[in-house]
C-alpha cells in the first residue's frame, strides 16, 4: 500500500466520525466504556474457546449497521493489521499438539484451536476499536477519556497526536514527492536517503513543536488544556451501556451457540 493511499484511508476514518447517526450521537464516554467492556469480555474467554465467541460479532456488526459505516472498509483495515495476530499465534499448532476432537471423527491439534481463538479475538477487538474511532470524533474520545479520569497530560498528548498527524503526514508526503521527482530507477538510493529524510522530518518536527509551544504560551497556556464542554449522560447512553454490558456478560457466562443448538435439538426431538 502506497503512502498516499494509507493517508487517504486514515482521512476517511476521520471523516466517517463526523457523520450524524444514532451511534455517532451517543456520548463518547458510553462508547468508550462499552468498547472497553467488550475488549475485556473478549479476552477473558479461555484460550480454546472459538464457538462461544462468535455471538459477540453481533456488537461490531450492529454498530457498523446503525452507524452507517461501510463494513468492507473496516474489514479491510482489520486484515491490514492481522499479521500481528498471525505472528503471535502461528507457533501454537506446532507446540500444542494434543489431539482434540472437533466433530465426530475429525480431530486436530489443540494448537490450531487456540490459534483460531486468537484470530477471532483479534478480529473482534480490532473491529470494535476501529468502529469506536469511526463513530466518535477523536476529540470526543479524548474528552471522554479525560472525564473518565485519564491524566490531563496524557489526553493533551493524544489531542496533539491527532491534530498534527495530518500535518506531519502531509509534510512527509511533500518530501517523498520531492525525492521521487529527482530519483530515477533505483528509488533515490533507498535506505540511506530514507534515513536522512526521517532525520529531516524529525528536526522540522522539533522546530514546529517549539513554534507551537510559543503560540500556546502567547495565549496564556499554563499546563492544562481547558475545555468547556459539559456533556451529561442521557438515558439513551445509559441504555446503550447497560444493553451492551448485559449482552457481553450473557455471552461470557452462557455458551450461546451450544444452548441454541440444544434448544433446537430439543424442539426437533
Amino acid at each position: 500500500m502506497s503512502f498516499e493511499a494509507a493517508y487517504s484511508g486514515l482521512g476517511r476514518l476521520d471523516r466517517l466520525s463526523y457523520r450524524d447517526t444514532v451511534v455517532h450521537r451517543l456520548d463518547p464516554r458510553a462508547k468508550v466504556v462499552a468498547t472497553m467492556l467488550f475488549a475485556v469480555a473478549v479476552v477473558s474467554f479461555p484460550r480454546y474457546e472459538v464457538l462461544s465467541l462468535l455471538p459477540l460479532f453481533l456488537f461490531p456488526v450492529l454498530i457498523a449497521a446503525l452507524g452507517d459505516i461501510p463494513a468492507g472498509f473496516i474489514a479491510k483495515k482489520v486484515v491490514a493489521v492481522s499479521p500481528f495476530a498471525v505472528f503471535i499465534g502461528m507457533f501454537n499448532p506446532l507446540f500444542d499438539s494434543a489431539a482434540v476432537a472437533i466433530a465426530p471423527g475429525v480431530s486436530v491439534s489443540a494448537g490450531w484451536i487456540s490459534f483460531a481463538s486468537i484470530l477471532v479475538k483479534f478480529a473482534l477487538t480490532i473491529s470494535a476499536a476501529l468502529l469506536l474511532i469511526a463513530t466518535t470524533s477523536f476529540p470526543g474520545i479524548c474528552r471522554g477519556l479525560r472525564r473518565l479520569g485519564l491524566p490531563a497530560l496524557f489526553v493533551s498528548q493524544l489531542l496533539f497526536l491527532y491534530r498534527y498527524l495530518f500535518v506531519l503526514i502531509e509534510e512527509a508526503m511533500r518530501v517523498v514527492r520531492a525525492r521521487d521527482m529527482r530519483s530515477f530507477g533505483n528509488r533515490g538510493a533507498g535506505m540511506r536517503v530514507f534515513v536522512r529524510i526521517v532525520g529531516t522530518l524529525f528536526l522540522r518536527t522539533v522546530e514546529r513543536a517549539e513554534r507551537i509551544y510559543g503560540a500556546m504560551l502567547a495565549r496564556g497556556f499554563r499546563g492544562e488544556i481547558p475545555s468547556m464542554r459539559r456533556e451529561t449522560l442521557r438515558p439513551s447512553d445509559a441504555v446503550f451501556m447497560l444493553a451492551a454490558g448485559g449482552f457481553f456478560v450473557l455471552c461470557r457466562l452462557v455458551p450461546v451457540p451450544q444452548t441454541i443448538g440444544r434448544l433446537l435439538g430439543g424442539l426437533a426431538g
Partner: protein, 252 residues
C-alpha cells in the same frame, strides 16, 4: 490611553550562538497607530516581533507595554495586552476544532463559560468564520486557517495586535479579505511583511530594519515610495506605485 503604548528603548538581543540580531532598537508606538515593519530576509523582523510579547527577552535595553516593563515575571500580563498572530497558521491552530482553538485563550484568561462563548462567537463573526466553528483545523483551506488564526488572538481582546506575514501564501481574494479585516480593527497594529502593498493599505507608519537596526521610520506612503531606500533593503516599490501599464508585458 497610555496602556496602549509600546516602547522599545535601545533593545539589543544576542542569540545563544553569538549572532547579534538586534543592535539597539528604539521606537515608540502610541494608541491606535498602525505600523508596518519591513526589511530584507534576516534583517531581524521576526526577532523583533518575538520581543513584543516576551517570547524572547532583550539582552540589554527595555521593552515597555503600557506601564508594564517586560520582565520574566510580567510576561503573562504582557501577553494579555499584546496578541501575536504567527506566520504559519498550522502552528497557531493546535486544538482539535476551530471553536476549541478560539476558546483556548479566553479560557486561559479564566473567563466564565458564557463570556468565553460570547467572545468566541464575536471573534469568529469578525473574521467571517462563524460557519467553521465545529470544523477541525486540518479540514480548512489556507485562507480560512489565516482568518481563524486571527480570531484566536482577537478573542483575547488584546490592546495591541502583532502580525507576522498575515497574508503570506494566500490567494489574492483571501489576501484582500485579510486586508479588509485588518483595516476594521481599531487596535494598535504592528504588521511585519514583505507584502509592501499590504503595508501600504493597512499601515500609516512604517519602520525599515536592516542588520538589527532601524534605518528609517516615518509615514508609510513616503517610505514606501522611496525607491532608493527600498532597493538598499532588498525591497522594491509596491506594485501599486510602480505605475506599470497593464499591457507592457515582462520587462527586460
Amino acid at each position: 490611553m497610555s496602556h496602549h503604548l509600546l516602547e522599545f528603548k535601545d533593545v539589543r538581543f544576542r542569540y545563544p550562538d553569538g549572532t547579534e540580531a538586534l543592535k539597539g532598537i528604539t521606537f515608540l508606538i502610541t494608541h491606535g497607530e498602525s505600523v508596518g515593519i519591513v526589511g530584507a530576509n534576516g534583517a531581524g523582523k521576526s526577532t523583533l516581533l518575538l520581543h513584543m510579547n516576551g517570547h524572547l527577552l532583550p539582552t540589554s535595553g527595555a521593552v515597555t507595554v503600557g506601564e508594564v516593563p517586560l520582565l520574566k515575571e510580567t510576561r503573562p500580563e504582557i501577553r494579555r495586552k499584546v496578541g501575536v498572530v504567527f506566520q504559519n497558521p498550522d502552528d497557531q491552530l493546535f486544538m482539535p476544532t476551530v471553536f476549541d482553538d478560539v476558546a483556548f485563550g479566553p479560557l486561559n484568561l479564566g473567563l466564565p463559560p458564557d463570556r468565553v462563548r460570547e467572545r468566541v462567537h464575536e471573534a469568529l463573526r469578525q473574521v467571517g468564520a462563524l460557519a467553521l466553528s465545529d470544523k477541525p483545523p486540518h479540514h480548512l483551506s489556507g485562507g480560512e486557517k489565516s482568518a481563524v488564526a486571527i480570531a484566536t488572538v482577537i478573542a483575547m481582546e488584546p490592546d495591541i495586535l502583532v502580525m507576522d506575514e498575515p497574508a503570506a501564501s494566500l490567494d489574492p481574494k483571501s489576501r484582500r479579505s485579510v486586508i479588509g479585516l485588518l483595516n476594521s480593527f481599531h487596535h494598535s497594529k504592528i504588521v511585519a511583511s514583505h507584502d509592501l502593498d499590504l503595508i501600504l493599505d493597512v499601515c500609516a507608519r512604517c519602520l525599515v530594519i536592516r542588520d538589527g537596526a532601524i534605518v528609517a521610520d516615518g509615514r508609510a506612503a513616503e517610505i514606501l515610495s522611496d525607491a532608493t531606500l527600498l532597493a538598499e533593503n532588498n525591497l522594491e516599490l509596491p506594485l501599486t506605485l510602480q505605475g506599470r501599464p497593464a499591457r507592457e508585458g515582462p520587462r527586460r
